[in-house]
Every structure is written in C-alpha cells, then in structure tokens.
C-alpha cells in the first residue's frame, strides 16, 4: 500500500473522530429545534458554560469570586475542598436544569408565536449573556479539565498504542496510525448518548410527549401535554448534551472561550444533515469532519493551509444550493 494512501486513511479516521464531536454539539441544536422551532445559537456557549461550571464545582471554586473580591476588596477564591467527578456532574446537571427553567421562564415563554428569525436573534443575545455570566462566575482563564471516576481511572488521553501497533502490522508500515484515546472514548460516549436519547424518546412517557410536541404544538396541547413542561425538559436535555460535549471538548483542548466557537462549526453540520433529523446531525458531523480533514490534507498545502476555518461552511453552502432542506430534513413546503 502506497504511503500516501496510508496517510489519507489516517486522516479519514481522525476526521471521523472529530466529526463525532461536531455531531455531539449539533445534537443539542436538533433537539431544541425539533421541539420548539428555536434555532439555538447559544448551544455552543451552553457547552462552554457547562464545562466551566463542572470544572468550577470540581475544584471547589467560589462562584463570582472575582466580582465579590472586586466589590468588597476580599481575597476569596476557593472553598478549599475538591468535589468527586460524579457528584460534580450531577450538580452541573442541576445547574443546567435551572438554566433551562430560567431561559424558558424569562425569555422564550414571552416570545411564543414570534417569527423564527426573532427567536434566532434572541438566542444570539442569550449566547452573549451566558458567556458573560460564565466568565463572571468562574473567571475567564483557560482551565484544565479532568474527569476521574476513581484514583487512577481518569478519561484516557494520548495516543492509542494498541491501535498504533495493530495498524502498523496490518498495513506493513514502519509507523502505525495516530488515534487519540480521548477520541475513541468520545465516540463510545456519543454512541451511548444517542442510544439513550432514542430510548428515552421512544419508550418513556415524557419522550412520547416530546415527540408529540415536535410533531404538532397545537395537537399536543389539545390532548393535555404541557408545552411549558416539555420545553423546559427539552432545554434540560439539550443542556445535558451540552455538558457531555463540553467535557469532551474541554478535555481535548482545555476549557476556554474558543469552546463556544465549535458551536459555529456545528452549524454547517446541521445544514448538511437537516435541522430536524438526529441521524442527519450524526451523518452531517461525520461528513464535515472527514471532508475538512481530507481537504486540508490534499489541497490545503497548495493554497496556504488553515482551510479548516471555512471549508465546512463553503461545503454546506454549495450543498444547500442543490438541496435546500439538507440531507435528511423534511421537504420545505411554502404556502402564501
């Protein structure tokens, strides 16, 4: 097997892994869009907020400590304890549910029936607000994120040696393929998450109600489904998905502002897959992940590199011109 082919395969594999992470963020978008027609631009900032809250709770940071210190001239920073990862995850989920309630109670309850584009702009405002609150609460410096279930069993990082050796032997190369352990874990967790979401929406009462609301608001309302409750539920689930995405991205590259930019990367994923389809989000994520890595590998060096910044958008743009509803989206029917 020629060397170029071997490298290309490695690029494709890494692209698939990156695509899984994009799909994780895109999943949160799809959930909210299906249930309430809100295109939630703040999903990426929610991931950032969740990851920061998780790290903050884990390290026993005092919330708003910078602000308190600035106002009262004190010097408090930490409570002085460390919280176990699982407990921290549970507490963060609690915070995300609280956030879901607040978003519903103060913002979107009052915007029901507005045009979709107004709702979209409201979520941009929400993104700014949430980012400011996250920075005020936990400080804006880059934080390291570790998830440890017990002493010594943390989220694995670094190269997967077994796969490295295996691929070197199979393809008869001096070096194997580089795959990050974290990416493998992320893939497994993503598969578990999607399975859990599908089970939840197929087999539980709340899941059925969620699907009913997604199908037809008014019909669901008329058979006694509480829209308000379902919307809070959906935002909570999206918050949970954001937490998972935030932990994965945070473990990969540290918890920092650029985390919220992955939300922007999730947008072309959605456009490709269609706003209303969970499988679409996953397939779209994989296509974008593989596409941008391959393009950077094959054509990037010729035109100056760093094409990953825009390739996904341009691909989605070209794709949309031919199929405006995305790969798996429902056909857009317009009436006067």
């Amino acid at each position: 097997m020629p060397e170029q082919m071997f490298f290309a395969m490695e690029v494709i594999l890494n692209g698939l892994m990156a695509g899984v992470l994009y799909a994780l963020v895109a999943l949160g978008f799809v959930l909210i869009f299906k249930a309430s027609g809100i295109f939630n631009f703040a999903q990426g900032v929610m991931a950032l907020f969740a990851a920061m809250t998780f790290v903050g709770i884990q390290n026993g940071q005092v919330p708003f400590s910078h602000l308190i210190n600035a106002v009262f001239g004190t010097h408090i920073h930490y409570f002085g304890w460390e919280v176990h990862s699982i407990l921290a995850i549970i507490l963060t989920i609690g915070v995300m549910i609280l956030l879901a309630w607040a978003v519903q109670a103060f913002v979107f309850r009052h915007l029901v029936g507005q045009e979709p584009i107004i709702l979209f702009m409201a979520t941009i405002g929400l993104a700014y607000l949430l980012e400011g609150v996250a920075d005020l609460m936990w400080g804006s410096e880059i934080k390291k994120l570790d998830v440890c279930l017990a002493e010594g069993t943390c989220l694995p990082q670094g190269m997967n040696l077994a796969f490295d050796e295996f691929s070197a032997r199979v393809f008869d190369q001096p070096f194997g393929m580089f795959i990050d352990n974290l990416d493998i874990t992320a893939t497994i967790i993503a598969i578990l998450l999607v399975t859990a979401l599908v089970m939840f929406s197929q087999y539980t009462k709340q899941g059925r109600a969620m699907r009913a609301v997604a199908d037809d608001h008014q019909a669901a309302l008329s058979v006694g489904v509480s829209l308000n409750y379902i919307w809070i539920l959906v935002w909570s689930v999206a918050g949970f998905v954001a937490l998972v995405a935030g932990i994965m991205w945070g473990a990969k590259s540290g918890v920092q502002f650029s985390l919220s930019l992955i939300a922007l990367k999730a947008l072309p994923v959605l456009m490709l897959g269609g706003f209303t389809s969970i499988p679409g989000a996953i397939v779209g994520g994989l296509i974008i992940g593989v596409g941008e890595k391959l393009f950077e590998f094959a054509i990037g060096p010729m035109i100056g590199g760093a094409t990953e910044n825009w390739f996904a958008y341009v691909l989605a743009l070209i794709f949309l011109v031919f199929r405006p509803q995305g790969l798996f989206g429902e056909k857009i029917i317009e009436r006067v």
Binding site: G125, Y128, D135, N309, Y313, P324
Partner: protein, 358 residues
Amino acid sequence: MFYREAGDFSTTYPQDSQTFPIRFDRYRYYVVLAVALLVLPFVMTDYLVNSIFLPFLIYAIAAIGLNILTGYCGQVSLGTGGFMAVGAYACYKLMTAFPDVNIFFHVILAGGITALVGTAFGLPSLRIKGFYLAVATLAAQFFLVWLFNKVSWFYNYSASGQINAPERTVFGVPVTGANTDAWATYLFCLVFTVGAALLARNLTRGAVGRQWMAIRDMDIAAEIIGVNPLKAKLTAFAVSSFFVGVSGALFFAVYLGAVEVGEVFGITKSFLVLFMIIIGGLGSIFGSFAGAAFLVVLPVVLKIVGVDMLGWPTDIVAHFQLVIVGALIIVFLRYEPHGIAQLWRVAKEKLRLWPFPH
C-alpha cells in the same frame, strides 16, 4: 406643543412627499446637521473623535447597510465583518496602486468592489432562506478573512501581514496616516455618513425599497404580485454591501490606520453590527444611528463607571459588558422588537397630541 402638522400646508406634490413632512421635524433635522457640520468640528478633541465620534459615524454606515439587507429585505447576514474587510482591503490596494487619485474616490470605489463581492455571495439567497441563509453568510465571513490572511497579494507582501494606511490628503489636509487632525477625520467621515443616510432613506422610500419590503414580508406573495425576487434580493445585497464596504474602508483608512484582518474584521464585528440594528430598530434609518450610538457609547460609559470610578479590573467590566449587551438584546426583542426607533416613533405620536391627548 411644537411637533404637529396643524397649520402646515402642502401645496405641491414634492412638499407632500418630502422626507420630513412636519415643519418642526424638518427644522430639527437642519439644526442637527448644522451642529454636526459647523459646531462640533471646532470642539473636537482626539479623545472624543477616537473613542466616540469616528466609531459612531463609521458603524452607523455599516448599520445602515445591514439594515437595508436585514431590516428592509429580511435576509439575515452574519457576514458583515467579512464584507467590511473587503472594503478595507480594496481601499488599501487602491490607495497604494493609484496614489494620485483622491482618497474620497478610493472609498467610493472600495464600496463598489464590496458590492460586487456581496452580490456574488448573495446569489445563494435565491434558493436558501431564513437561518439557512444566515449560516451560509458565515461562509463569506470565514472565507474572506482567511483569504485576506493567506494571499499575500492583498497586503502587498508585507512581512507583518498587516495593512497600513499611507498618508492621503483632501484639499491639502491629511485625513489618513499618522498626522491627522481630529476635526479633519471627523468631517471626512461625516460627509460619508450623511451621504449614506440620504441615499438609504430615499432608496427605501422609492420603488426598490417597496420591493425589498414586499420580499421581507412574504417572498412568495411578493413574487405573485410581480416583484422579481432575483432583482430585489440581489439589489439589496449589492446596496447593503456597498455601504458596509464604505464603512470598512473608512474603519481601516481613517479610524484604525493599521489592520490585522482576523482581529478587526472577525465574527464579533458581524455580531456587533447585527446587535446595533436589533437594538436600534430593524427597518429604520434612524434606528441604525441610534443603535450605533448606543453600542459605541455603552463601553465608554461602562469603562468610566466601572474602571475609573469603582476601580474594578478591566476584565470584569468587559464581562459585564457582555452580560449587559446580551440582556439588552433579549429585553428589546421581548418588549420592543422594533427597537429604539419604535420608542422614538411612539414618543412622536404622543408629542403630536400633547398636552391634550383626546
């Protein structure tokens, strides 16, 4: 008391269809113009011009441009930063390639070039609608910034990758470069801002403006009554990009002087201008000014209150600014979706009947 049409008779059609039909309104407009042209240049200081007036005037042009596209034609764009970069780089290339031509024409030409680029990126809008289009304009934003970063022809192969505005004069007075006077740069930008506002106001009152609004309100219905969506949407993109390009050129040449594209014309700039028109008022020229003024003055006020008076660290004040801007967007969308311009309209209605509202 003053603001009413009673006793104000129109005897000709041009009188009836003028921009400010009410006499008090008209005089108010003349007074504002006179103050801006004849009084402010004499009291202008470097601090005032750099922290408030130049950004206000330049952002007002960009906001008018985006308002034409988003507020009047209903096409949400997140690519404003990218189009401003096109204006800036076009202006730079023209300034260095034709040093003898007056900078005034360079700025106009830069707007024209941006209009061409904007029209090209507007083409997909014929098939893509709503947020699909909003996301598609992100392609313009990221692609253009990348292009200006990577292709060294655009920054004349300079080692730093920056573009620097050389000194250019208007009537012998320098308006770009290092040795400018506050009043000169202020007046230079003011001319463009007033021109842009006049042009935009009259375009949106005319046939093409009515077509844009028809497309915004319901594009299929507009098509059925004979509005050509291809023409309407592309003219909106072209006119909007023209204004955005002019503002980008001024932002680079007059205001900053040196530009690194990723920092200055990034995605945050696109959001900033979008926020200006949401807070100011979608579909209103006055709203573009109000929103630009608000978002230019807010950080200055916050800095004075937070850093200078309360003595807080600058990063906390910056975070507060994010919170306030985000919360304001939500508050405006919730209580007054038409922004400051609508508050102004309501106030005018009240004034008309004041002090006897019945």
